[in-house]
């Protein structure tokens, strides 16, 4: 079941979607973290970020909205506390990196260069912060520039995490490739809104939030398929994965790894069920190597 992305070998293709699994601590009693291909952490910034006011989450039909606003303790506490915690487990560490300016992204990437982590996932697609985030991910020139700036500084391979809130995801993928990205993650959340018709106001304090969960899966699978046909880079696929069947759709569309996100909230053992389900599928169809499934749908 192992897969290699940008020179890093993962024991299996299942990781967690950033922001839905903390740094693994809260799930360690539900999931043996050593069984995961990787843990992808919540976004980390150079200094602590307080995030948005509450309410920060809202349920929608088959999905949810979140506007956490990238609350995080900042890279120093993360490095001191979360990396050593994760290193106790036999799993790879992918650190999700956020910033408000190119400089802030660079600061985190440079600081992490000295740290024992396996890959960096650069979040240029968060719809819930006023500056940075998605703004970087909706313009191909910005995508290319920030990718090449970070690539210069990174010691670990970098994964650019793309926003689905674009006209042409393939264009963004090509821009990231041109900038030197080692891999791509997609998709981040789609910008959405929910209105409380009785209060006549937005349900989220931030008004808009990011839509995630099973509702968005068809959009995510389509984007993975499009990007897989547009660039040579390996893809981490995500967006609504709740079971092995979902994960296999992403793999067949072209993803080398898959990330479980919102499903963790509904089923804390979702990651392991996805993993075991992929194993069972491969057994059922006598598939020895998961690579034979990656991108098998033409």
């Amino acid at each position: 079941m192992n897969v290699t992305l940008a020179g890093v070998t993962f024991q299996n293709p299942v990781t967690t979607a950033s922001g839905t699994f903390g740094s693994g601590m809260e799930y360690k009693d539900y999931v043996d973290l050593s069984r995961l291909g990787a843990v992808t952490t919540k976004g980390v910034s150079s200094i602590p970020w307080p995030g948005n006011p509450t309410p920060r989450v809202a349920e929608t039909y088959g999905g949810m909205l979140n506007a956490i606003g990238l609350q995080n303790p900042g890279m120093e506490m993360f490095i001191q506390r979360d990396i050593p915690f994760l290193r106790k487990y036999d799993t790879k560490i992918i650190v999700n990196v956020v910033g408000k300016t190119t400089q802030e992204y660079c600061d985190v990437v440079e600081r992490l260069a000295e740290c024992d982590v396996d890959m960096l996932e650069i979040n240029i697609s968060c719809p819930n912060v006023k500056e940075g985030g998605i703004a970087f991910g909706q313009d191909p020139k910005c995508v290319e520039t920030i990718t090449s700036e970070l690539k210069k500084r990174a010691k670990q391979p970098i994964i650019m995490k793309l926003s689905p809130n674009v006209t042409d995801i393939a264009e963004m993928a090509r821009a990231a490739q041109a900038g030197g990205a080692d891999a791509l993650s997609l998709i981040n959340t789609l910008t959405g809104m929910k209105i409380d018709i009785h209060r006549r106001a937005c349900l989220l304090a931030n008004k808009t939030g990011g839509l995630s969960g099973p509702a968005i899966k068809p959009i995510a699978v389509r984007m993975v398929y499009q990007v897989a046909h547009a660039v040579r880079l390996p893809i981490i696929g995500m967006g609504g994965i709740a079971c092995a069947e979902d994960a296999l759709e992403f793999i067949m569309a072209g993803a080398s790894m898959v990330a479980v996100g919102t499903a963790n909230f509904i089923n804390p053992t979702a990651t392991i069920e996805v993993l075991e389900g992929i194993e069972a599928y491969m057994k059922q169809y006598h598939i020895e190597d998961i690579k034979d499934l990656i991108g098998c749908v033409k």
């Binding site: 809260e26 307080p50 309410p55 609350q71 303790p73």
Partner: protein, 255 residues
């Protein structure tokens, strides 16, 4: 802390207490054996279009039967789904979650507002000191009789149909209630009033807060509350209600 797994449990009893207010007992031995007053559980809907868990406070614990009581209002589609379940039906539950109340004090005020009343019942059963219960309602009352074995019960209703006309603080003032500890659960405006009251009077005060949740276990940072000091975990002035709460001392949080 013990692990709160997500389990399918069987409903042993379901009754309507008042319009839109239901009382449900579930068989959940793991929860019953470890839960403390003030903790809550996450209830999951069967309908796949509703994904997020519904946090509901533990109202009573029967350690002998291995059952737990939940009293809830049918606020929306999820709780409406729960209210249609019958004894023998199953429901997925994760819990116990959160920290619960710290049992302390000599003369206590237990203040519940609306759907914040249920957790006060298990607290009343466990708290071994002098207890005064102040229960606030909009109009229809529920559960108030079940408090009488544990101390004197004061009611407040917004429409004045029972007890003091007004809110719980009005009832406290009207009855000149005194205490060295306050435990409160209810809507945020009520808690804000109690927080101010307690700080002003110098009474120790535990508040049980409410916020929209997604994970219920501290991972998503959905349910935070502003704090006066930098929080140990988040490294900002925000704390997670689901994991580090829902109960906080009045001086810790900003409402």
């Amino acid at each position: 802390m013990s692990i709160a797994m997500k389990n399918k449990t069987i409903i042993t009893e379901q009754t309507m207490l008042a319009e839109d207010i239901y009382s449900m007992w579930i068989k959940a031995e793991d929860i019953a054996s470890t839960a403390k007053p003030g903790q809550f559980v996450s209830l999951y809907c069967q309908d796949g279009s509703r994904l997020l868990p519904r946090p509901i406070s533990i109202c009573e614990i029967d350690k002998v039967q291995g059952t737990v009581r939940l009293v809830y209002r049918t606020a929306g589609k999820g709780t409406k789904e729960f209210s249609k379940l019958k004894p023998g039906d199953t429901i997925e539950v994760m819990g116990p979650l959160g920290n619960g109340f710290t049992l302390e004090g000599k003369k206590a005020l237990l203040i519940g507002g609306g759907i914040g009343i249920p957790p006060m019942l298990e607290l009343a059963k466990n708290l071994h000191c002098e207890k005064q219960m102040v229960l606030g309602y909009r109009d229809t009352t529920f559960l108030e009789d079940e408090f009488t074995p544990f101390g004197k019960v004061y009611l407040a209703t917004e429409d004045g149909s029972k007890g003091t006309k007004g809110n719980v603080l009005d009832a406290i003032r009207e009855n000149n209630l005194e205490a060295d500890i306050i435990f409160a659960c209810g809507p945020t405006p009520m808690l804000r009033g109690i927080q101010a009251y307690a700080l002003e009077k110098g009474i120790k005060c535990q508040l049980s807060l409410e916020e929209r949740m997604a994970c219920g276990i501290g991972a998503c940072l959905g349910c935070v509350c502003k704090t006066k000091e930098v929080d140990h975990h988040s490294n900002v002035k925000n704390t997670r209600i689901c994991l580090d709460g829902p109960v906080f001392y009045a001086e810790e949080v900003e409402l």
